[in-house]
Amino acid sequence: MGALGHYLESEGVPTTQISLIREHTEAIRPPRALWVPFDLGRPLGVPGNPGFQKRVLLAALTLLESSAGPVLEKFPDDAPAQDVGGEPDGWACPVLFASDMPQPPGEASFLTSLRREITELRPWYDLGLQRTRRTAVAYFQPEDALGLFSSIIRGEEPPLPRQISSLALALRLAAQDLKAFYFEAVASKPGLAPPGASQFQQWFWKQTAAGEILRKVKEIYSSASDKDLKLAARLFLVPLDQA
């Protein structure tokens, strides 16, 4: 980010920027930067709080009027707490999976559980989409992601959608879309606040078949001879802190 500011400014375009990792910005020294003490992924602080977002935006833009630089200022406040569904360890998924049903043995059970989760989350996802008219699911509907991961786990050649150029890319996008589907489904149940970021993360990676399948796919391709596939499997499917 800091380097982009340097490149643009050196060609005559005035820049200002938000900084999430202060140490990186101190090393690069871009012309103008506002360090914010927010979570990665939330440079404006908090979703659904236009007033706070505007304060951050204005603090960053005001640096354009500085007389000399490099300027690195600190935004004074932490992000306000979001109204989330309970304490970090207390949130329970409002959609109860029928996990006590008889399961086939071995790897097939992962896939059966994933199929069941998708079926049970689908109505909530659809209701949420109807209400918000917005989804982050971009390339893989969950049923398509299930098809891709099922082929991989069965050792079959996975089918790729036409616009996806490689299996490495397909894996990453399918994983992102599956996670987006799960969040939007559990966030849509009326009367309940959505889970916080870490609550969702803990639930998805520790309590769902989807999380288990992604770990399994990571394992399958972690030693692949295709270097892009190996990189995607090792780094882009499972977060470092959930590996």
Binding site: Y7, P14, Q17, G41, A175, V238
Partner: protein, 153 residues
């Protein structure tokens, strides 16, 4: 909180070890008062329009996001799994504050919002982004942008 010392391992070491370029010069481009500036957003969140090509690899290229892009038209295909996406899923402004920027125009705080905005994929090596960034300058100037707000993820 995004304070490096508070990150759990192995994220802290991963972030601490990311190479940062250093520059000998410190360019400084002047401009008018904020109330007269034309502002463009430049994100590194790997954002693009729904029908556009997903980010693939570390090539340092960018995608174009028109001013009239709506929330459901914008998707994120950044490679990293190590940042929160649930904020963006609930409100795109927490990553790409286009609605907030338009409000600042109505309030007279900034002059105008650029016709086009841009997104890179921030995991790419900065040196890979440099040719694209320098190419972007012509487009920003043609759009009369005199305030680029760079937003990480």
């Amino acid at each position: 909180m995004a304070r490096l010392e508070t990150f759990p391992e192995p994220m802290r070491s991963h972030l601490a070890k990311l190479p940062c370029p250093s520059f000998e010069s410190h360019p400084w481009a002047p401009g008018p008062a904020l109330s007269q500036r034309r502002v463009a957003l430049i994100s590194t969140a790997g954002l693009h329009r729904r029908g556009d090509r997903p980010f693939d690899g570390m090539t340092g290229e960018y995608r174009v996001i028109p001013k009239d892009c709506e929330a459901n038209d914008l998707v994120m295909t950044h490679v990293s799994t190590n940042f929160d996406r649930t904020g963006f899923q609930q409100d795109w402004n927490v990553v790409f504050p286009l609605d907030r920027l338009k409000e600042l125009v109505v309030e007279g705080v900034i002059g105008s919002v650029a016709e086009y905005h841009y997104s890179f994929m921030g995991a790419a090596d900065p040196s890979q982004m440099e040719p694209s960034a320098r190419n972007l300058v012509g487009l920003l100037k043609e759009d009369r942008v005199d305030g680029a707000l760079l937003v990480p993820v």
